[in-house]
Symmetry: C2
Subunit: 196 residues, 2 copies
């Protein structure tokens, strides 16, 4: 059978990661078999092991790739000289774009990380905890600066991160609303509230 195409999407490992993300999103990691993944790629299952070490490794690649991208963006946000409200708006918009542009990977990282095995599970959870902690710090600064209401910052982060994660379900309405309108409405709701 044909070799795995490595042209468009980088290395063959990348192809497996991407097709894996698509499959795991649709059926869940545990319900997806290597045979089905191989079938989607156009190859027999054992051939995959020329490029990856195990099924788990595919999930690890997905989760840590996504985590890395979020961490990198947060680095930049922390460095910039904007006020807290602008930083938050930046973060919200970035999460929305990640959710829409790398849907499969972000979805899988959000929902299937529990299937990671130690030490990867621990590593991932630490990264997540760290990310949320830095997010909380930004909000705390905003409260002290008088930019934000006095709300438990953990609750605020929970709401913001959960709200953007909810875009997992947005696919269906995709055509009925423009992405920029969606973004603006989310920013408005999360920062200014729903009440008039």
């Amino acid at each position: 059978m044909a070799k795995i195409k490595a042209v468009k999407n980088g290395t063959k490992k990348d192809v497996i990661t991407q097709k894996g993300a698509a499959l795991f999103r649709k059926k869940g990691f545990a319900s997806s078999s290597m045979r089905e993944l191989a079938d989607n790629i156009g190859v027999e299952a054992p051939s995959l092991y020329n490029h990856i070490g195990s099924k788990s490794e595919i999930l690890e690649n997905i989760c840590f790739k996504v985590a890395g991208e979020f961490n990198k963006h947060l680095d930049e946000v922390e460095k910039d000289n904007e006020n807290v409200v602008s930083k938050l708006e930046n973060l919200i918009r970035f999460h929305i774009h990640m959710m829409l542009d790398e849907f499969d990977e972000v979805y899988v990282a959000n929902r299937e990380w529990k299937q990671l095995k130690d030490p990867f599970l621990n590593d991932f959870l630490n990264q997540r905890k760290n990310y949320e902690g830095r997010f909380v710090n930004i909000i705390n600064k905003g409260i002290k600066a008088g930019e934000l209401k006095k709300i438990n910052p953990h609750v605020a982060v929970l709401i913001i991160l959960s709200a953007v994660r909810g875009l997992e379900f947005w696919q269906r309405h995709k055509k009925n609303i423009h992405i920029t309108d969606l973004e603006n409405d989310m920013v408005t709701h999360l920062l200014n509230g729903l009440k008039k």
Copy 2:
């Protein structure tokens, strides 16, 4: 071995449903085996089949029990004579309580419904679509009545439902904040916004 205790939690089917929800939440439906569930109950796997028809049926029981409770509450909210902001506050607080009081079941219904088989998958999705539609209608009324900002109501529902779903992750901080404070902060953030 001892018979399944049917005293505290109603029928034996109920025990299986509850222990199933706890296991499925921890490990995911597909990664949970009937042998492990039986072990948690203190029984051999085949014994479970005296009380339930299949593994899938356990998931079905969990999902439709939860869906029923949410539908019932929405019935009551629609009937009451409160203004829209009060209705929304009621809905938000109910979702929070469900999330905290029936954590395992709600968590599983939220995250594992994809593993349902037709016709149950279709039925569940229809109920969900219906629920969201009625939620959207409430928000639309609020916009027309001048109570709410002119925001795409689907986006608003997405944000609210996703935010309360995010309480899946709240367990860790459980002891650091009172539930009433959590509730009030969430209502404030979602209705009045984060910005001062």
